[in-house]
Amino acid sequence: MHESRRSFLKRVGCVALGAGCAGPLFGAAGKAVEEGLGCGASGGKQWGLVIDIPKCRREEVRRACTAACHRAHNVPEIRDANGQISSKEEIKWIWSEKFEDAFPDEAHPYTAAALKDQPVLVLCNHCTHPPCVKVCPTAATWKRPQDGIVMMDMHRCIGCRYCIAACPYGARSFNWRDPRPYLHAAIRPEYPTRTKGVVEKCNFCEERLRDGLEPACVEEARKASGGDPPLTFGDLSDPDSAISRLLSEKPTICRRLSLGTGPNVFYIV
């Protein structure tokens, strides 16, 4: 067979490249098709949260929620050169925003000033149709079929920040730097920290739910308000749960419903 050395090497190279790539890629593709999108609860639970805005009027209540969550999950406090919380790099899982910023479609020029400026707690809504899950190129964030929590896999996240672009609620934060030096309180060892270059957000305290506890913010809010729970957490798919009964009794609103994300965090105005 007369064949130049060059074309022989080219042929061998192509075959090697093809076989080397095809094997693992097809295997991975098969696995990924199995994993699926997991959009919407499939016969499992759907955890939800109801936030009673008037009951969260006091700043101590809201601050307690944020502090409890951030402490439980080793959320860093990134401060800038002046010692202020850096708006450029801050990481927050649950925090307060003005009513007119959290609900731009509900606030109008004649909304009572008291309500317009009222800070409300905002967090990830663990949407039924989460746009962040749709756009993630590695499925590092996905909606858990068994309980509807929109999870983060810190091991897989490549830090492309597409999910942040997709989230209409500003619920996600990116680690622009190593967070560990900014954990001013002691690190809570039972929960990992994050590393630089990954995205994080509220996870509905899935590690606490595992042990039968309720989310840290819910527990703390109840303590801070002296017994009358401002936050109610439960299974939306269970018609007898406290949250389902509350939702059927009180009128509630959601953030940016018209976008079709199907948020599972509800607000009593």
């Binding site: 190129p137 590695t138 597409y162 672009a165 622009w176 190593d178 990954v198």
Partner: protein, 386 residues
Amino acid sequence: MLESALRGSKRYWLLLGFWALVILAGLAAYSRQLSEGLTITGMSRDVTWGLYIAQFTFLVGVAASAVMVVLPYYVHNYKAFGRMVILGESLAVSAVAMCMLFVFVDLGQPRRVLNVLLYPSLHSVMFWDVVVLSGYLLLNLVIGGVTLEAERQGTPPPKWVKPLVYLSIPWAVSIHTVTAFLFSGLAARPFWMTSILAPRFLASAFASGPSLLILLALILRKFTKFDPGREAIQKLATIVTYAMVINVFFVLVELFTALYGEMPHHLHPFEYLFLGLDGKSALVPWMRVCELLTVGCVVLLLIPQVRRQEGLLAVLCVAVIAAIWIEKGMGMVVTGFVPSPLGKITEYVPTAPEIMITLGVYAIGFFLLSVFCKIVVGVRERVEMA
């Protein structure tokens, strides 16, 4: 064929040496980013994509624009593009390489980049963008390499290249459409969520890419014996003109919908970009320059006598590239984040290390382009000697 990249004049080596210096500086800045994180850039919690993704968006257009030479030459037998096609493919390969590098340097965890291929998420447009860009890179490398080698041998290219060439035509359109879909599918960002984004991207691509190609042809003609021909350059100039006109029309159409419709979510980003919003107006001067350049280019390019003067044409090409770089790069990408989903306005200014890394990636692209052009010129010289 490839050996002509290793033999060159002093000027050639000086050029490569210059790119290499810039690459090294970029690498130094990037190693700092690897160790400290993306905090060294000007991006923030609200504006999470900046200079890197802006360059990616601009360069995907340049890469796609190769179709503007491939289509007339291969499908419509427009012979005048005979020597322009290989330049278009070289530019496309360099541009796609830069695109992929810009996405890479933008990643928070770059060593995990293969996760995109190991855990394919078919619902994610970003996954498809990686796939089509890789495919396009491969296509152009193969088509360009094989046709160039065939030219060197003095034979027609092998038959199996033809279907690949035909494939590259819709594929070129697809890379830029998929990139537009990255942005236009996000309900959270009303500035981006517009059907006309993909057509806008293509129109601006077909203005900026051929402009770069014209400049490349003129440079090669000046410094080497490679001349793609006056007619080819003139035809490209016509393409740039039409594409610019269509691009301007698309922008005006967008402005009408936003300004006449007056929906706050749609209106506010445009206000921020063109007029400033709540006292914040960092991008406004850039847009003024863009507007000036655009109007100047469109008016002048529409005059055939102006287009025929190659010196003037070169200046206008630079202006077209600058205008589209501003509008599509920073203008489009950064404005998508203003106002934030919670109504805040955070401005974005790239930092020096960020700019250095950007220049480093550009230098890699230009290095590749220089090498490709050297090979192309080498082959042409060899064929002409025969």
